[in-house]
Amino acid sequence: MKDELRKVRFGKWACVLWIGMLPSVIFGGELPLREIIDREIKAAWANEKITPPGQSSDSLFLRRIYLDLVGMIPGYEETTGFLQDSDPKKRKKLVDKLLADPRYARNQARVWDVSLLGRNPKHVGHQDNRKHFRGWLEMQFANNEPYDRLVHKLLAAEEDGSQLYYVVHRGADDLTTATMRLLLGTQLQCAKCHDHPYNSWTQRDYYGMAGFFVRTFVHEGEKKENVTRWFVGEKSMGQVNFTIVPVDAKPGTKGEPVAPKFLGGADLQEPELPKDFKEPKVEKKKAPPKPMFSRREKVVEWITGRDNPYLARAAVNRSWAQFMGRGFIHPVDDLNEDDQGSHPVLFKEIERQFVAHNFDLKWLVREIVNSKAYQVADIGTATQAAPKFYERARVRPLSVEELYASLHLATGLGVEAAAKGRPSNDMLKYLGDPVDGRGDFQGSATERLFVHNGDVFRNLCHPRNDNLSERLLKGSESPEAKVDQMFLSVLSRAPTEEERERFVRYLNVEGDDAKQASQRMEEAMWVLVSCSEFRFNR
C-alpha cells in the first residue's frame, strides 16, 4: 500500500516538478519564491545539523493562517468544512480566500498601526483619530497599494487620515528616530549622543538625517465630531545645531548648524533663501503655507526611492518576522550594515524579488504563507518562542484585538459580533501588552487574574444570547458530540480520546439539575478559552 502511494506521490511530484518548471522557463529560470524559501531554510537546517521538522496538521495550519491573515480564529463551520475537505490544494485555496477577505486589510492595518504608532501613543487626542488613521491604512491594504507608495503617502501626509504619524512622532528627534527605525529598520538614535556603538554611524549621521525633519511641524485644523483634521507643514527656516553636549541633549540645543545629509549618502543641496525672507504666519485652523524649499519632500523621495538600500530590506524583514515570528535580523528594526541575517542568501533574494514585484506586499505574504517553512509543525525540542532557524513554528501571543474577536468566535457568537465590537478598557489594560522590553512574552499574574475574575471571559462562556454554551445545553446531541463541538469551536481541533472522556465526565451532572448543567458547561468553556493553547498562535 505504501509503495503504491509512493508511486502515486512520485508521479504527482513529477508532474508538479514539470509544471513547476514552467514558470522558470517563462521567467527565465526563476523558481517561485515559496520554493526558494523552502530550499534555503532546508539548507540552513542541514548546515546547523537540525532535524527537519514535520508539517503542521490541518487544524493547526487552519488556526494559524486565520489568525495571521484575518486576525481571528475560524468559526465552527469554517473549521469543520476545512478539516473534512479532501482537496490536496485546500491550503493554497484557503490562503487565496483569506487574502481576498476584507478582514485581511483590516488586520494588516491593525498590525501596521501598532508598529507605526506604538500601543499607547501620546498626542492622539480622541481615540476616533486613531480609528480614522487605521481606516486610511485599511484602504491602502484593501487596494494592495505597493509598499513604497504607501510609505510615500504616509510621509507626504496629504491624504485625509494619514497624518497621525506626524502627530504622534512630534519634534525632529522623535520623527527622525521613528522614521529611521520603523521604515528603514535602523536604530540611528543610538548615534545621537555618541558615535553608534555597533555601527559605523556617527553623530553627524544622526543630525544629518534630523536636518530633514527639523522644519516639519504639525498644525491643528478643524475638528469634526471627535476627529481632528491635521496639517503637516514645513517651515522655510530652521537648522539642527549640535555640538558635543551632555547625554540628554535634543536637536536644537546650541551648537553648530548641521546640513542635512542622506544616511550613507551625500549632503543635501538646497537653494539659499532670499535675504529678507520672513517666515509666513500660520493661520489658525488653516493649512499652513508651503515652504520655499521642502527638505521633507527630498527625504521622502530618498526614502521611497527604488534604490534606497534600507527600504525594501526593512519591509521584508518586518513582514517575514510578522509571519515567521522572527526576522532574519532580530530585533526586527535593528538592521545594520554588517549583519547579513540568519539566512543571508534567502534574505537577499526575497528583497530582490520584492523590488522586482514592485513592492507588492500581498504577493510577498502569499509566498511566505504558502511555503513549507511557514507550515511547519509546532512540536520539537526548541524552547524559544521563535527559533532562529525556524525549525519549529513560532509561538506568539494573540493581540488583545485578536483575543477579543477570537473569544467571540470561540463562544459561537459569529463573525459579525467578532468584527464589530472592540476590547473594553479593562481588557486593553490587562491583556494589552504582555511582552517585556525585548518582545518576549511575560506571563503575568495580573493577566491571569483578569481571565479568572474579569467579566469578559466569564460572560462569553455563560450560556446566553444563543451562544455556543446555550446551544449545547439545549441541544440533543450526545455528550461526546457536544465536547467535539466545543473543541472544534474554541481550539479549532477535535479533542483527543483522553480529553473527550475527561470533558464528558465533567459535563455530566446528577439527575436533571439544569442549574448545575449550566454551571458545568460554563466552566468547561472557560477552561478551553483560558488555557495557554488558546492564548497563542502557533
Partner: protein
C-alpha cells in the same frame, strides 16, 4: 536560550519543594501531596511551614532623581546650598535636611553613602542601571534586583509572590531568570490590582482549576516553548495569590497607622511593605513619584520630603518593633542625584558624579556616613561607590553571592560586574 543555574545553593528539602512546585503540587514536610491548582484553602501545616526564615529587602525608590544636597548631603553656606537648612540628628556629626525631622531621630540606624558615582544619568537608562546593575546598552536581558533577590531568598512554600512592586519605578523584568521572578505589581498605594477577589465559589474554583491543569498537562507533553511555560507559571502564581490575598488587605490596620505614615499613597505603600515583609515576602519595592525637579526644585522637594519623612521613619520604627529590622534591609535609592548648581529655573538637573543612597537594617552598621563629596558637592572626595559596589553590598547583606554566575546560552553573566566590592565598613 538555555538558562542554567548554579547548583548547590539550596537546602535539600527546599530543593525537593521546588521540583514539586514546578509540577504543580506542594509537598508538606510530612510528605502529603496537596493539589494547588485552584484550591483556595490549604491546611494549617502548610501555613505554618510557610512562615519565613531568612532575610528580605525593602527598596524605597525615589523616581526622577532625588537631590542629595537637599536631603543627606547638605552644603550649608556654600553657593550650591539652596534655601533648605540642616538640622542635627541623634548621631553626632550627622546632619540632615530640616524637612526630614523624623528621619533625624533614626540616624543611628542609617548608613549614608554620599559618594555614589554612577554613569547613566537619564531616566530610563538610569532606572535600568540602578535596578539591574548594568547599563542598558548591553543586549543581555538582565534581571532587576527584586527578581534576583526573589530567586535567592524566596520561600517556595509561601503563597505570596516573592517580589512585589508598587508605585513608580518602571518595569525592568526578571530577564534571564525567567518570568517566574517577575514582580507582582500593586497599585501606587499598595492596593491589589483589580480582579484579585475570586469570582466563583471555592469548589468551582477548585474543580475548574483541576480541569485546566489537565489541559495544560496534556499540552505540555509535546509543547515545550517557553511562552506556554510562562502562562502555566503565571496561573500557579495567580491561584496562590488569590489564596493569600488577605496579606495585602491592610485596610483595617491602616486606619490606625495612617496618622504616623501620612495619608498618602507612598505612606500606605510603606505600610503595606511592612505587612508584606512580616508575611514573608522577600523583596518589596515602593516607589515615590516626582523628584525630577528641573524647575522649582525646592517647592518640589519640600512637599515630597514632607511625605517621605513620616512614611520612611514609621517603616523603620514598625520593622524594629516587630523584631524584623535586623533581617530586613531597607534601601533608599534613586536613578541618580541632582546637580549641585541650581539652574535658571530654580531647579536642579540630573547628576551622577556624586550623590547619596541610604541603607538601614539587614545587619547594616547604622549611625555613619560612608564616603563624602567635595565642599560644593561636585565630585566624590573619598570612597567612590559604583553601581556594582552598591549592588554587591546589598547582595552581601542578604547573604547572597554578589558574583553569582548564570549562563545565557554558553555565555556567563554575573550578578555584578567584575571589580564590584561590597562595602565592608557597612556590613556587620
Amino acid at each position: 536560550m538555555k538558562v542554567h543555574t548554579q547548583p548547590g545553593n539550596c537546602r535539600p528539602d527546599q530543593h525537593d519543594s521546588r521540583r514539586n512546585f514546578l509540577k504543580g503540587t506542594i509537598v508538606t514536610a510530612a510528605g502529603a501531596v496537596v493539589p494547588n491548582w485552584g484550591a483556595l484553602v490549604h491546611s494549617q501545616t502548610i501555613a505554618a511551614e510557610a512562615k519565613r526564615l531568612g532575610k528580605r529587602c525593602i527598596m524605597l525608590y525615589m523616581e526622577g532623581g532625588v537631590s542629595q544636597i537637599d536631603t543627606f548631603d547638605m552644603k550649608p553656606g556654600r553657593p550650591t546650598a539652596g534655601p533648605f537648612r540642616p538640622i542635627k540628628t541623634n548621631v553626632d556629626g550627622i546632619q540632615v535636611c530640616e524637612y526630614l525631622p523624623k528621619m533625624a531621630r533614626h540616624a543611628d540606624k542609617l548608613a549614608i553613602i554620599r559618594s555614589m558615582k554612577t554613569k547613566s544619568v537619564d531616566h530610563g537608562i538610569g532606572g535600568y542601571h540602578m535596578h539591574t546593575c548594568y547599563p542598558q546598552s548591553e543586549r543581555v536581558p538582565h534581571p532587576e534586583i527584586g527578581a534576583m533577590i526573589a530567586k535567592y531568598c524566596d520561600n517556595p512554600e509561601s503563597d505570596l509572590p516573592s517580589f512585589v512592586k508598587m508605585g513608580a519605578s518602571g518595569n525592568y523584568g526578571a530577564g534571564y531568570l525567567g518570568p517566574k521572578y517577575d514582580p507582582f505589581v500593586l497599585g501606587t498605594d499598595g492596593r491589589l490590582p483589580g480582579f484579585t477577589n475570586p469570582s466563583v465559589k471555592p469548589e468551582v474554583q477548585e474543580r475548574r482549576g483541576e480541569l485546566l491543569k489537565f489541559m495544560e498537562d496534556q499540552h505540555a507533553k509535546v509543547h515545550q516553548a517557553r511562552p506556554f511555560a510562562s502562562v502555566r507559571e503565571a496561573e500557579l502564581r495567580t491561584i496562590r495569590l488569590m489564596r493569600a490575598r488577605a496579606a495585602f488587605d491592610v485596610n483595617e490596620e491602616w486606619e490606625k497607622a495612617r496618622e504616623r505614615y501620612g495619608d498618602t499613597h507612598f505612606g500606605r505603600g510603606c505600610f503595606t511593605a511592612v505587612k508584606l515583609a512580616e508575611a514573608g515576602v522577600s523583596f518589596v519595592e515602593v516607589g515615590q513619584w516626582g523628584y525630577d525637579s528641573h524647575n522649582d526644585n525646592f517647592s518640589c522637594h519640600k512637599s515630597l520630603l514632607g511625605r517621605l519623612d513620616p512614611a520612611w521613619s514609621s517603616l523603620l520604627e514598625d520593622l524594629q518593633v516587630r523584631g524584623l529590622l535586623q533581617d530586613t534591609l531597607v534601601v533608599w535609592t534613586s536613578e541618580f542625584g541632582r546637580t549641585p548648581l541650581i539652574n535658571s529655573q530654580a531647579g536642579r538637573d540630573h547628576y551622577g558624579r556624586a550623590w547619596t543612597v541610604v541603607f538601614a537594617g539587614g545587619g547594616i552598621r547604622g549611625g555613619q556616613h560612608y564616603g563624602a563629596s567635595d565642599k560644593d558637592g561636585f565630585d566624590v572626595a573619598e570612597n567612590p561607590v559604583s553601581e556594582g559596589d552598591y549592588f554587591a553590598t546589598i547582595y552581601s547583606a542578604l547573604g547572597m553571592n554578589h558574583r553569582k554566575k548564570h549562563f545565557l546560552g554558553t555565555r556567563p553573566i554575573w550578578a555584578t560586574p567584575e571589580g564590584s566590592k561590597p562595602i565592608k565598613q557597612l556590613l556587620g
